[in-house]
């Protein structure tokens, strides 16, 4: 059965929370709903499902990758042109540490940003899910992704909670 996305637009966070309560009471699963706001409200403010993420793994992988890259760069370039200075070892570890540190941190940051974008499910440029520009003006959007045969029931729940407008895609 084809699925349908339905958006209910609410004027206040309270109304949005009520809509979500109504949907849960009507048997809509938490993972089928999405609350959209223009403000970062505290987690669980709408009684919504708090999504889990694996962002913290990304900087660790990035750091490891950066450290390896820096080791290849610093050790590789010194060994490729082995210039003995004052009888000291070819690999100047204290100097290498600086580059190792910077590359490690650089890649940790880059991987973190990649992780943020990936875990935020972005880029999401071609989505067909309904959206309303008034959400970034303070309204609260509640989106339900449900099977087509339940669409009428979901729309009724959203309206009962005081939706100003219903959109579907």
């Amino acid at each position: 059965m084809a699925r349908k996305s339905i958006l209910g637009l609410y004027e206040t966070p309270d109304a949005g929370a009520n809509a979500l309560d109504g949907l849960h009471a009507a048997g809509v699963e938490a993972h089928e709903t999405e609350v959209m706001t223009g403000t970062p409200y505290p987690e669980g403010a709408f009684g919504e499902h708090v999504p889990q993420h694996r962002l913290f793994r990304f900087p660790a992988f990035g750091a490891l990758f950066g450290f390896t890259l820096a080791l290849l760069y610093t050790a590789g370039t010194q060994l490729a042109w082995p210039l003995v200075t004052g009888g000291k070892p070819i690999l100047a570890v204290p100097a290498m540490l600086i580059i190792l540190y910077e590359f490690t941190m650089l890649n940790a940051v880059i991987f973190t940003v990649v992780g943020i974008i990936f875990e935020s499910r972005l880029p999401n440029l071609f989505t067909k899910a309904p959206y309303d520009r008034r959400i970034s003006e303070g309204m609260v959007g509640v989106v339900v992704s449900c099977e087509e045969n339940r669409a009428a029931e979901v729309e009724a729940v959203l309206r009962r909670a005081g939706a100003l407008e219903i959109k579907s895609a």
Partner: protein, 461 residues
């Protein structure tokens, strides 16, 4: 925080997007004016490349002059961004909200400007690539990773990349907002840049976590950058006044002093130019001034300790250098101006609430700090090189030429113009931060006083 004003999300959008969605009348003339100076700077640089470094005041033994001074100055200014944005974010300081983006932006443009100065200073800029990238496969000559000249681009490149990404991630919700308020080509551009931001719970959760995680990652980079810049000097034992063990923390604290002052300058300009009185309020200047009192005093202590250490060593060369730097013409005059402008005018003035809450006074004292901090870097670099030392055979003097002075002016105009261009397309104050502040704030009645209160985070159940 008694100056908080209740605004709706629509009002926040309208007021804070007044630069990006409607061009103020003065904007075009300001960009043209700054653009002409930038053009003059590029022309001067072209002339310098064509004629060689002989058109500058550089010469034996002073081979580092105002180019390197200005490089260190702009790296210092760049420390504003992470100092303000990351530390205040991690400590959940409520007054950070209107400040963060301007500070991050100042970091990015200052770093880009700073990076151009070693390139300008090289005289043959295209050869600088040999220093950094391991690409010269045919000749087998590689960058010398033992040299601070490699550490510098590594550190600044890391800081610039990190700061730019930090800025972009925090811009995503506002790009979504701009997408919703525009049509046509601009709408397409913002749609692309916003990556399809919708403002759902997952995205907001990641955005909040990202702010903290990136702040925590950027802070160690922030400390390393000016430490490494200081080692350009400190690892040189042959120059008196440079070979100092406290240079790393001394440079970092100096950078914070000049960087936070630059943020004050910028915030005053933002309030005046875009009329953001509802967002940038005297309470923010008050908080920044309190921070600057601590930072400025700590920096002054380092300045004294630096001089004390050199006197305590009782080494003839070192003492002679300090005597020249502090008591001999023309350095003595510059030294007095440096101390007065960087510390003795601004820091005692900030002890008074009337000064801290006066935006014109905060503007001028912050400018004063940065005049002093530029002179500080000049007095570290140039007098030390102009003395005859065991490894050089002449005394020298240095007078910056018109070419060098034009390029300093270029750097100021370049940063200013870039900030204005950014402000034409993107909001300088994060909209979502202001909205969050409104959503999280409330008023508590205590006796007969109505006190603003801020909700920090949800209580764990």
């Amino acid at each position: 925080m008694q100056q908080h004003r209740e605004l709706t999300e629509r009002q926040i959008n309208t007021q804070l997007l007044n630069g990006a969605l409607a061009t103020p009348a003065w904007w075009k003339w300001a960009v043209i004016g700054l653009g002409l100076i930038v053009l003059a700077g590029f022309s001067t640089f072209g002339y310098m490349v064509n004629r060689g470094l002989g058109v500058t005041g550089l010469g034996r033994p002073v081979f580092w002059g105002v180019f390197i001074t200005t490089f260190v100055f702009w790296v210092g200014i760049s420390h504003a961004g992470i100092m303000i944005s990351a530390i205040l974010r991690l400590t959940q300081a409520e007054w950070r909200r209107p400040v963060t983006r301007a500070a991050e932006l100042l970091t990015v443009f200052s770093l880009i400007t700073a990076l151009t100065f070693p390139v300008i200073h090289a005289g043959r800029p295209w050869r600088i690539i040999y220093w950094i990238l391991p690409y010269d496969f045919s000749r087998g000559v590689w960058p010398n990773v033992r040299s601070p000249l490699i550490w510098d681009p590594a550190a600044i490149g890391t800081y610039l990349t990190g700061s730019t990404l930090f800025l972009y991630v925090a811009l995503l919700p506002d790009l979504g907002n701009l997408r919703d308020r525009t049509t046509g080509f601009k709408h397409g551009l913002y749609t692309l840049l916003a990556l399809g931001w919708r403002g759902n719970s997952r995205q907001w959760r990641l955005q909040t976590t990202a702010g903290i995680l990136l702040s925590a990652l950027m802070l160690p980079i922030f400390v390393s950058v000016h430490s490494i810049v200081s080692w350009d000097f400190a690892v040189t034992p042959a120059v008196e006044g440079w070979h100092s063990t406290i240079f790393a923390p001394y440079f970092v604290i100096g950078a914070v002093h000049s960087g936070v002052s630059a943020v004050v300058t910028m915030m005053a300009l933002m309030r005046w130019l875009w009329k953001w009185d509802n967002f940038i309020r005297p309470e923010h200047f008050d908080a920044l001034a309190r921070l600057l009192i601590v930072v400025g005093t700590a920096w002054f202590a380092f300045t004294l300790v630096e001089i004390l250490y050199s006197l305590y060593s009782l080494e003839g060369q070192e003492l002679a250098f300090r005597d020249m730097q502090i008591f001999q013409w023309p350095w003595a005059l510059l030294f007095v101006i440096f101390l007065i402008t960087a510390f003795f005018i601004p820091v005692p003035a900030w002890l008074f609430k009337r000064v801290r809450n006066s935006i014109p006074l905060m503007f001028w004292t912050s400018i004063s700090v940065n005049i002093g901090m530029w002179l500080e870097r000049f007095l570290i670099i140039v007098p030390a090189l102009s003395r005859k030392q065991p490894f050089v055979y002449v005394w020298g003097s240095y007078h910056p030429s018109l070419v060098e002075l034009t390029l300093i002016l270029w750097s100021l105009a370049f940063v200013g113009m870039n900030m204005l261009l950014f402000a034409r397309f993107f909001p300088l104050i994060p909209l979502f931060e202001q909205k969050e502040s409104q959503a999280f704030s409330s008023r508590v009645q205590i006796g007969r006083a109505s006190v603003p209160a801020v909700l920090r985070e949800r209580e764990q159940e």
